[in-house]
Amino acid sequence: MNGQAWLLLLDGAWVTVWISAVAIGLGVVLGLLVALLRMARIPFLEQLLILYTSLARATPLVTLVLFVFLAAPGWGLNLSREAAAILALTANTAAFNAEIWRGAFLGFSRDQRESALACGMTPWLLFRRIMLPQMLAGSLPGLVNEMTFLIKGSPAIAVIGLVDLSRVSNRIGAVTYEPLPPILAAALIYMAILGVLVRLQALAERKAGRLAM
């Protein structure tokens, strides 16, 4: 392990971080959308979304990434490797996030909801001003759990040829014939990335705590 190897690892870490970050951002918003649509109970669409959450949660990430990358040209879509990876990761994480958001909806305190409606709030205002901030604070641990799983599962994108952190460590090991040091170094970088995430969650919770929620 010399300086150049560390630079290569950091390059790989950057690929892991930006692809995961885009997938996390899209996944959180899409998950909320899926949860809202499911709560609206539109016939047919609801069953479709139930099937989607069931299948997307049960399919392993590697399978999903390969499927999106290999099947997309058949639908007339020419996806780059990055786009296919983001699509697959988003499809997976959005399904998990939808369940997290739905849980927050179902558990929302009944008294607050009724009193807001009694005060004459419209459902949209109730959602935006009362429910969303509290749901966000309450489901933060669940959402961050899911984000850590996404980052830990992101080596799956290496199967379609993206050079992410895990792939770089494999390559270095293949050249130096010493697999252990690069793997340990990669594990250290993964833990640093996830540590930042866990730390951010603690900060956000302290801020939510100050708002007396």
Partner: protein, 221 residues
């Protein structure tokens, strides 16, 4: 020979693997769930070193990739003189790792619980353990039900990693079938189907448990 015929002939291997995976998953899920409940009880209203240690344990588990934990227990512990069989090492890893995640999920639900209830219970003379068991925990379980379902499915998928440290389970069984007959596509389709079967079972369990909450007036849809 038709690939599906080969799969049908190897049905014994698939069935054994399926039952092994099911047994590992059920035991690990039960123990991890119990560990999660204990951890949350330990976090209940306490300040100081205990709380910090428990939070530290949960956060370290969340930062550690699962496979690294398995390697540490199976390949790392023998260097300290503790040699675990593959099956126990895998089980301990699953329980510690998912127990920490269960605890984090329940802790998130705990922050949403109105404080007045607990104060009322104290005023009525409930001992802390009893208040937790009878009032807090049931509500947490009802509220975090979908998240617990998510976590159970992730735990199911993580059992596939244990094949790497030579534990007998479904993915390892499929791998040995596909490598001796060269039917990768069909073997793994079969495995996905079997995993999906278990995860549909989990979803049904979560769905049925909703009735329990609805009966007590906790749900409004």
């Amino acid at each position: 020979m038709n690939p599906w015929e080969i799969i049908w002939r190897a049905r014994g291997a698939f069935l054994d693997g399926f039952l092994d995976t099911l047994a590992i998953f059920l035991l690990a899920a039960l123990l991890a769930f119990a560990l999660g409940c204990l951890l949350v009880y330990g976090l209940e209203g306490r300040t100081g070193p205990t709380r910090r240690a428990l939070r530290g344990f949960i956060d370290v588990m969340r930062m550690l990739p699962f496979l690294v934990l398995v390697y540490l227990l199976y390949y790392g512990l023998p260097q300290l003189g503790v040699r675990l069989p593959a099956w126990s090492a895998g089980m301990i890893a699953l329980v510690l790792y998912h127990g920490a995640y269960f605890a984090e999920i329940l802790r998130g639900g705990r922050t949403m619980l109105p404080a007045g209830q607990i104060e009322a219970a104290q005023a009525h003379g409930f001992a802390p353990g009893k208040a937790f068991r009878r009032l807090v925990l049931p509500q947490l379980l009802i509220r975090t039900r979908p998240l617990l379902g998510n976590q159970l499915i992730l735990a199911l998928k993580d059992t596939a990693f244990l094949g790497i440290i030579t534990v007998q389970e479904l993915t390892a069984a499929a791998n040995s079938v596909q490598s001796s007959h060269f039917v990768p596509m069909e073997a793994f389709l079969m495995v996905i189907l079997l995993y999906w079967l278990i995860s549909i079972g989990i979803e049904l369990l979560i769905k049925w448990s909703a009735r329990f909450g609805a009966k007590r007036g906790f749900e409004h849809v």
